[in-house]
Amino acid sequence: MAKSTGTAVRRRDGRIIDYLIILVIGLVLLYPIIWMLFSTFKDNGQIFGSTRLLPTQWHFENYVEGWKGSSRVSYTQFFINTFVMVIPTTLLTVASACLTAYAFARFDFPLKKLLFTVLIALLMMPGAVVIIPRYLLYNQFRWVDSYMPFYIPAALACNSFFTYMLIQFLRGIPRDLDESAYMDGCGTFRTLWQILLPLMKPALFSAGLFQFLWTYNDYFNSLIFISTQKKYPISLALRMSLDSESVVNWGKVMAMAFVAVLPVMLLFFAAQKYFVEGIATTGLKG
């Protein structure tokens, strides 16, 4: 009797310690973001040399001033550019990955083994090794300083990660389903469109989310391929905000940085199930 209450107490103490640890880790992980949010309302004097989280004076004008951007291009334009760049890239990626995955998961064709090996090899191929010739190629096509360097690789399923992810997902869907449809005279494309696609929705959505996120966050490719300010996505606009003034108004910079991460966070909260589950299933079944 005494022993069992002892364990119960110890268990409860353990619980409290557990939650304390969870809280501390959470604080370390999220405090920078929280601090970032409040720093968007501060001036340099409040940001530097202080541990205060809340502003003493709220500088809402950081947002107004920041939004104006620089050289007459405002963040309205930068946001439009970003979405014009990111949304087609995302849709094309999902479509092309889906077609490729369908071929690998549901067909038995010549050279399949070899091509699948190529797919896996590409999964591990560092992008750095092809970036120079790709740049020169796009340059020749006059695609530099447009969003084509983002659209075209997406349309051609160049990111093997998504193809691989969808192959794994398709393998998990019983083959009888589409085979019986095929027997009934349903063409291969109609089988994909009417039978498999509805079943693949969660995986397609996860793939789309990740591609959206990666393209949205991407800085390196934008830096290389986009040179006209009017076409800048947010990432380049943020970089520019650092150079444009002799004394950086960090409150303003953080305000725009926060505006930049906000869509990502909103998307995450709206679709967290797909993020977490997408990530949990992709690597696993491999």
Binding site: L29, I47, T100, D108, A128, I132, P133, L137, L156, G283
Partner: protein
């Protein structure tokens, strides 16, 4: 295996339906030829040439590589720093993700909310907004120094001290361990309970169970993460470029920055191609090492 070979014997001729696969593969195959294979080979070709955008291409044999290995101080420096960077971030991220995942892998109330919260930093991988935040936080009179001052540590020059600056950049990467943690957590959930129960009956201690059940059971996902992270971190550009700009005195000047500088600031395409090939070989060697050792520690359930 038996089944598969039997199938292969039976299947000697492909049907018309099978050939339709190529229709679906068309975009991907075109992509491979034009955007993967061609650039892959031509970057090797470029690396034997002196070629600046707008100028003409001169074959110079191994000169680019000779220069890289013998005369360019930046190269050895970058290579060393990139290794160092990967050596901190990859194990740092994985160990932390695994430790937290194991810690959370119990009946904890609110686990979904916790998982979500911990995942948030991972949303911003490669994001310049967060790199800017990091830079601001670690500046000389930034928030981190202000916090340290309250416990008596004064003015650490995080971004101005060789060796320290690199760790600040690494910290940003490690801070984003959430996505790996979510994967590990899912893998841990899939470890059959019966294994632990059997081990407990045998009187196996915590570490024993960890090394003999947990680790082997989740080894495929560990392997996948290790491989992925190594390849990724080896090519990192954004974090050091924004946080430190490669400084102080090039102590955070990773290969990604070196490649960018030569290729897209100076447009020395031949030389940059040589750099990219050395980087590729380095990644390949690391990948092969990871693959080679995987036989020793990665266990697949169906074997």
């Amino acid at each position: 295996m038996m089944f598969r070979s039997a199938q292969a014997v039976r299947k000697q001729r492909y049907t018309r339906r099978d050939y339709q696969a190529f229709l679906y593969l068309l975009p991907w195959l075109a992509g491979i030829l034009v955007l993967q294979l061609y650039p892959f080979i031509s970057s090797l070709v470029y690396s034997f040439h002196d070629y600046t955008v707008g100028g003409k291409m001169d074959f110079i044999g191994l000169d680019n590589y000779v220069k890289l290995f013998t005369r360019d101080r930046d190269f050895w420096n970058s290579l060393k720093i990139t290794f160092e960077f990967a050596l901190y971030t990859v194990p740092g991220k994985i160990v932390l993700a695994l430790a937290v995942a194991i810690f959370l892998n119990r009946n904890i109330r609110g686990i979904n909310a916790i998982r979500t919260a911990y995942y948030i930093p991972s949303l911003f991988g490669g994001s310049i907004a967060i790199a800017l935040l990091w830079r601001l936080m670690f500046m000389d009179n930034g928030i981190i120094n202000s916090m340290l001052a309250t416990i008596g540590v004064t003015n650490v020059h995080f971004l101005g001290t060789r060796g320290v600056a690199l760790r600040v950049v690494c910290a940003l990467e490690i801070w984003q361990f959430g996505s790996s943690m979510v994967m590990f957590l899912a893998a841990l959930k899939n470890v059959p309970r019966s294994l632990y129960e059997a081990a407990e009956i045998d009187g196996a201690g915590w570490w024993n169970r960890f090394f003999h059940i947990t680790l082997p059971q989740i080894s495929p996902i560990l392997f996948f993460t290790l491989l992925n992270q190594t390849i990724q971190e080896f090519q990192n550009y954004t974090s050091p470029a924004i946080i430190t700009g490669g400084g102080p005195r090039k102590s955070t000047y990773v290969m990604g920055m070196f490649l960018y500088q030569e290729g897209f600031s100076y447009f020395h395409m031949g030389y940059a191609s040589a750099i990219s090939w050395v980087e590729f070989i380095a990644i390949l060697v690391l990948t092969l090492i990871i693959f080679g050792t995987s036989k020793l520690w990665v266990h697949y359930g169906d074997e």
